[in-house]
């Protein structure tokens, strides 16, 4: 990391994340460097899949139990709740919503991704654990859609997160989302959906792209 970068980071670092000194009850000075002390600085590793029947069986289980992170961006987030209503009933395909990234395996980017939201999307994605999949919903995630020349949204989601399935449309109906889930299941069962490992392999490229957009990068390089 260059020196220039450090200055740049410091400028945007939240006050509580800067190096500071805490005075203890007995008057001792405790030097705190939050980015090193409070956050895990390790980089992720490629987690090799098993081989043969074992991996096929596990992939079947992963495909039949898709836990979606309740994370909504853009207009698509309003298309997702009907999925779990009696009319579309995504539960019968093993799809369920989870409120925490730790437990979920699918991140749906449901529409345009503002620069501000991109940061949150990256944090959420990185907090999810290894077999994890990204569904890009709507035209905005493919090429920017109607926001392609906006000053504040990204155009190709592919440059920032490894996308497994695109669902085109503006907005796609819940049926289309269900079809997207089916497509994702096919990919997982075939063993093609290794987005998490791809992300780790090309981490430098993804990080460079992300930092090009997010000027105020005030978090660790990988948010565990």
């Amino acid at each position: 990391m260059s020196d220039k970068k450090d200055i740049h980071e410091d400028k945007f670092l939240a006050p509580e994340n800067r190096k500071h000194v805490v005075i203890g009850p007995d008057g001792e000075e405790i030097h705190v460097d939050p980015l090193n002390d409070y956050f895990c600085t390790d980089m992720p590793k490629v987690e090799k899949p098993y081989k043969g029947v074992m991996e096929k069986f596990l992939n079947w289980a992963r495909a039949e139990s898709l836990w979606v992170l309740a994370f909504g961006t853009g207009c698509g987030s309003i298309e997702l709740p009907p999925l779990f209503s009696p009319r579309f009933d995504a539960y019968r395909f093993g799809v369920a919503m989870r409120p925490t990234p730790r437990q979920s395996g699918v991140l749906i980017i449901s529409g345009y991704l503002a620069v501000k939201t991109l940061k949150r999307a990256i944090r959420s994605y990185e907090q999810m654990q290894n077999p994890k999949y990204v569904i890009a919903l709507g035209s905005c995630t493919i090429n920017g859609g109607m926001y392609w020349d906006s000053y504040n949204t990204i155009n190709r989601l592919d440059h920032y997160l490894p996308v497994d399935v695109y669902i085109a449309g503006c907005m796609p109906r819940p049926e289309a989302v269900l079809a997207g889930f089916m497509k994702l299941k096919e990919r997982i069962k075939k063993g093609d959906a290794e987005g998490a490992n791809e992300y780790v392999e090309k981490l430098d490229w993804y990080k460079a792209n992300q930092k090009k957009i997010i000027k105020d990068w005030n978090m660790p390089d990988y948010n565990w």
């Binding site: 992963r62 039949e64 139990s65 093993g94 369920a96 925490t100 437990q103 290894n130 565990w224």
Partner: protein
């Protein structure tokens, strides 16, 4: 029966209990889905979720207690099972029950919660801390009417052995505690609602309120262990109430039927009533179930 055979039967019983717990939660969720005009999950979905959680490749930890939290929780569930006589009159399915097992079991019911509180606390997520605070406060409020009901039963049957309590209830529905000591039954069954964590009292883990309470940071195998424990614990708690109030079971068929009905009662109440806030649920336990619990003891003594 040798100790080895006994251990084998305990393990087999644990296996049956785990499977029945998973299938039961699948069936219940299917019923809920049909009630709300949906097809709903597959009945085997809990199994698939379990396999999926155990197949998560990368896992992270926040420290030793974070590891031990689910382990404590599971040992709480298995501990209740180990000392619970499952089938009355069978030498194979009484597990390691002894004369004072009722006391030990009511201790084990709380033990898992405490372990989980320590583990989830180390996770460091604010929602975990909120969930733990609410969970422990609510469970303490549940324990009071529950304990009163247990004391009432102990006075009534002059015993703290579950096997003896079940034995005293044999010979028809009129001998069940449900009939002979209705106030204790009401107090305990109201406390049971809170114990199972369905709707009126599910503010501890409600995804919409504090996503999702204590297990917020738990994932992969940790979550798998918690799910395993939940499957076991739900059945075993239902078995406890079956033994104390509804005449016990003399074979697995009756056990499955009774535990299903007892568990379904909490789900039914949950489907009908909306969620309490924690500052509503705790006073509620100190009002209605507590009064029934005190009545149960006072009437017995008089």
């Amino acid at each position: 029966m040798s100790l080895f055979t006994r251990i084998l039967f305990v393990l087999l019983g644990l296996f049956i209990t785990l499977n029945w717990g998973l299938i039961m939660s699948g069936i219940i969720r299917k019923i809920i889905a049909r009630l709300s005009m949906r097809r709903g999950i597959k009945v085997v979905q809990p199994y698939i979720n379990l396999i999926k959680n155990f197949s998560i490749r990368s896992q992270l930890t926040h420290g030793v207690m974070f590891y031990l939290g689910p382990v404590f929780r599971l040992s709480g569930g298995v501990g209740v099972f180990l000392f619970m006589p499952m089938i009355y009159g069978s030498i194979y399915w009484t597990n390691f029950s002894f004369t004072g097992d009722l006391i030990l079991i009511s201790y084990f019911l709380f033990f898992g919660m405490l372990g989980m509180a320590l583990g989830a606390g180390e996770g460091g997520h604010p929602y975990s801390a909120i969930g733990i605070g609410r969970g422990l406060a609510q469970f303490t409020a549940i324990e009071v009417p529950m304990t009163l009901a247990i004391i009432s039963i102990a006075i009534q049957y002059n015993s703290l052995s579950i096997t003896e309590i079940v034995a005293a209830q044999q010979g028809g529905i009129m001998n069940w505690t449900m009939v002979t000591n209705p106030f204790a039954t009401i107090a305990a069954m109201l406390a049971f609602l809170g114990m199972m964590g369905h709707s009126p009292f599910n503010v501890v883990m409600a995804p919409q309120e504090n996503p999702i309470g204590p297990p917020t940071e738990y994932h992969g195998t940790f979550l798998g262990v918690l799910q395993t424990n939940r499957a076991i614990l739900h059945v075993v708690e239902a078995v406890l109430f079956m033994n104390l109030f509804f005449g016990g079971a003399t074979n697995w068929g009756i056990l499955i039927l009774k535990t299903f009905l007892i568990y379904f009662y909490t789900v039914f109440v949950g489907m009908v009533f909306p969620r309490f806030r924690v500052d509503q649920s705790i006073p509620w336990f100190f009002k209605i179930p507590l009064v029934f619990g005190i009545l149960a003891i006072v009437l017995l003594i008089i």
